[in-house]
């Protein structure tokens, strides 16, 4: 079958009234739940999963997928309005989205992220349609050594998210790496730093960490400052539109963001968060005036949001074509398929073409729904800011606890999220950046795990890492990246001392 036939098959499946209806239900509840701080895509999908048990596999997946990308779409709303990421992958959007809202430009920020998300999602879907089989082969060809080197490159690239104080940023990356070592070592089975708690054997929950550091700490911070930061915002359609200059400045970040997000999303195991960090860092590095970032730069929200939503779509490639879920949310999708007797794997495209192509088509329809749904909603979201904080924040705290608990019905995770809230509060008071913690936390365990596996396959020979062609290329890139960073620093330093 050619691409054309696939598109026809896909859309004819996706626009059946039942699938359209469930697609709408999915994106509607997804964007709603995602916009609530503390309820991320994983919690949203977990909450709505039981609704799909009676549906046929395609419809069930259409709806769950809608919830998933709907939640990722909606997650930026609270990042911008409240400085509280709706999902971990929206954390970086806080950096420039929230300052924009404080400047009275919340409408513009929300409008821009909606368009950026739609663009990113569309690029991801095109990738899903055209290069799925190719990417599936590439993913099979990549071994532990290649993943190790890629992750090292990612860590080096992302370690520079901090703007002013690189040492503090580095400290936070190391803190993240340290947190990542908690739990049972995959290779030896040794449980590390578990303090005799069964719950820590699987390591620290990523959601609890992210929601604690970014969500709970923000609530504590605003309680301790007690300032009324409410900015009266009047939102008219015209007030939502970015300036001509901002449109122009958004084009390149959107393209790069979609590319980065698309690539990282398609790699099994990375999830969308990494892409958003790398997209943001890259924009900051490439910009002629990096100091505008963190103060409401439009590039700072366009890049991570396109990356996030492109990644969300391409994350389906390994899930559907390899049966390897890229994230916990994807694992639930996979479960929903297997529950219906559909075996995901290299054969899925051939054995159940209507599921694969139907799903891909429904993604695009869902993205259009989101666009239509979100633009009129912006005015309503902005009004959230008028809710007095003494009512809003307790509600947010409850939502965060509920969202964290839902994921594995364990009270332990609620204590964990609150603990990380305190830690996050202290770190923010000391003016540490929190984003690098997440980077270290995600990449550290993957680097270690793949390194150990590579060493087993390479029979303990370190040169195995360089001899694998893909791995070798990534390592060379890493070396170049480090060289470039050193060069830049050396060159910039004299200028700084003059100032």
């Amino acid at each position: 079958m050619g691409l054309y036939d696939n598109i026809i098959l896909g859309f004819s499946t996706a626009i059946s009234p039942v699938n359209l209806l469930y697609c709408f239900i999915g994106v509607f509840f997804g964007t709603l739940l995602g916009a609530l701080p503390g309820i991320g895509s994983l919690a949203a999908v977990s909450i709505l999963l039981p609704l799909t048990f009676s549906l046929d596999p395609t419809t069930a997946l259409v709806m769950l997928a809608g919830v998933y990308y709907g939640a990722e779409y909606g997650g930026s709303t609270s990042s911008i309005l409240l400085n509280l990421p709706g999902t971990p992958s929206n954390a970086i959007t806080c950096l420039d989205g929230y300052p924009m809202a404080q400047q009275g430009r919340a409408g513009v920020a929300l409008f821009t992220t909606t368009i950026a998300s739609f663009f990113g999602g569309s690029v991801g879907i095109i990738a899903l349609y055209t290069i799925s089989p190719l990417l599936a082969d590439a993913a099979i060809a990549m071994g532990p050594a290649d993943y190790f080197s890629l992750m090292v490159a990612g860590l080096v690239a992302a370690a520079a998210v901090t703007q002013e104080e690189p040492l503090k940023g580095l400290a936070m990356v190391v803190f993240g790496l340290a947190l990542g070592t908690v739990g049972t070592d995959i290779d030896s089975g040794v449980a590390r730093f578990h303090w005799d708690m069964l719950e820590l054997r699987d390591g620290i929950s990523f959601i609890a960490l992210a929601m604690g550091l970014f969500g709970v700490s923000e609530v504590i911070l605003s309680l301790s400052t007690m300032d009324q930061r409410n900015v009266k915002q009047r939102v008219t359609l015209r007030g939502m539109l970015p300036t001509r200059d901002e449109w122009r400045r958004s084009v390149k970040p959107a393209l790069r963001g979609a590319g980065i997000g698309g690539v990282f999303g398609a790699l099994p195991g990375t999830g969308p968060t990494i892409g958003t960090f790398i997209g943001y860092t890259l924009e900051q590095r490439l910009h002629k005036d990096p100091s505008i970032f963190g103060k409401g730069a439009i590039e700072g929200i366009v890049s991570p949001e396109t990356a996030n939503n492109a990644a969300v779509q391409t994350a389906f490639i390994p899930t559907l074509t390899l049966g390897v879920p890229g994230s916990a949310t994807m694992a639930i999708m996979l479960g929903a398929l297997m529950m219906n007797g559909v075996a995901p794997g290299p054969n899925l495209i051939n054995s159940n073409p209507e599921i694969f192509w139907g799903l891909a088509a429904s993604f695009w329809i869902g993205n259009v729904f989101l666009l239509i749904l979100n633009i009129p909603l912006i005015g309503i979201w902005v009004r959230l800011l008028q809710i007095p904080y003494h009512l809003l924040y307790p509600a947010i705290l409850i939502l965060i606890c509920v969202g964290t608990y839902t994921i594995r019905s364990n009270v332990f995770d609620i204590f964990l999220v609150l603990t990380f809230g305190m830690i996050g509060f202290v770190l923010r008071k000391l003016r540490f950046q929190l984003a690098p913690v997440l980077i270290g936390f995600i990449l550290g365990p993957m680097i270690e795990e793949n390194f150990k596996r590579a060493m087993i396959f390479g029979r303990g020979d370190f040169t195995y890492l360089v001899k694998q062609p893909v791995s070798g290329v990534f390592l060379a890139l890493t070396a170049l990246l480090i060289g470039w960073a050193i060069y830049k620093t050396v060159r910039r330093r004299p200028r700084r001392s003059e100032a």
């Binding site: 049966g323 694992a331 794997g345 054995s351 594995r408």
Partner: protein
């Protein structure tokens, strides 16, 4: 006064006649699954729960308590009231975990009581493109002269234990396990030609076998797998690896025998019915129809055997 009344109520509730088989169940029953809803165990619990709900006329709730190789959910059920209203539906992880986790907060022999085996499916040993031969004999021969990498779904998982069991039974001189977080990433390195074998349930390897990316070498145990008619069973191939993947229900120790028996009998009724048989078949599974006593013996024997294997092959954690 208030405290006394409370104590009295608690004492009454704890009395055995508060939970007699003839009026069991008269309120909601919870089946705890120690895996995430994404796993292959959750749907089994949902199917049985749904059918029991129709039979009993009370709600049967499925609660997912995943983590730490199924030990979090198991530990939770071990501490629940022994009245049959909270039961556990788990997998061979129940019998393998004690051999790797030295400090389990429960005793698998004395803190829970086996109730029913609700189905089984075969383990299949599948090989990737790095293995030249398509047959078990060819593979064993190949393995005499080189190192074999067995990819597993995790250290201490049932797949790991069964891989070690297979290596011992087939007489592989140098087979070492490589561990992954779950069965699907483990299979990627096999189909990519970096690891040699993966052992998983029929349904777990079906996708890759059908796509021609992996070849089934042997079906463990002595029951042929309908999906792999041309693959010999371990019994046919003459290797001693009589082991299956199963789902089983456990209740907190001290649950009255008549309630254990009622849950067992009603679950068997569900699984022996046409819908039950059809459901099992769609999972490439079947029913052994063990009595409560037979299942209890099975568990005891399994616990001992895995412990022996773990000592022999040096499987340990902590």
């Amino acid at each position: 006064m208030k405290l006394k009344a409370l104590g009295l109520t608690a004492a009454l509730a704890a009395l055995p006649f508060g939970a007699m088989a003839q009026d069991f169940p008269n309120r909601d029953v919870t089946i705890v699954v120690p895996y995430s809803p994404a796993g292959s165990t959750d749907p089994v619990a949902r199917f049985i729960g749904g059918e029991l709900q129709k039979m009993w006329g009370v709600n049967v709730l499925i609660e997912s308590k995943p983590g730490a190789g199924a030990t979090i959910g198991t530990a939770y059920v071990a501490t629940q009231p022994a009245d049959g209203y909270t039961v556990l539906l788990t997998t061979p992880a129940y019998t393998t975990a004690p051999s790797v986790y030295k400090d389990l907060p429960y005793d698998p022999l004395n803190d829970l009581v086996p109730v029913a085996q609700t189905g089984f499916t075969q383990f299949v040993v599948a090989a990737g493109p790095s293995v030249k031969s398509d047959t078990l004999e060819g593979f064993i021969e190949e393995a005499q002269s080189r190192q074999i990498f067995m990819s597993t779904s995790g250290l201490g998982s049932s797949g790991h234990f069964v891989s070690e069991l297979f290596a011992r039974a087939a007489g592989l001189p140098d087979a070492i396990p490589v561990h992954y977080k779950g069965g699907s990433p483990a299979q990627v390195d096999v189909i990519g030609g970096r690891a040699d074998t993966y052992v998983g349930s029929v349904l777990a390897v079906l996708g890759n076998v059908e796509a021609g990316k992996m070849k089934p070498l042997v079906v463990l145990g002595n029951t042929p797998a309908a999906k792999f008619p041309d693959t010999p069973t371990a019994a046919e191939a003459g290797i001693d690896a009589d082991v299956t993947f199963w789902w089983g229900v456990f209740a907190p120790a001290g649950t009255p025998d008549d309630i254990v028996k009622k849950i067992h009998d009603d679950m068997m009724t569900v699984l022996e019915s046409d819908v039950g048989q059809e459901y099992l078949a769609s999972n490439s599974a079947a029913l052994n129809n063990l009595s409560v006593e037979e299942f209890q013996d099975f568990i005891k024997k399994d616990l001992e055997e895995w412990k022996k294997l773990a000592e022999e092959r040096g499987i340990e954690a902590n």
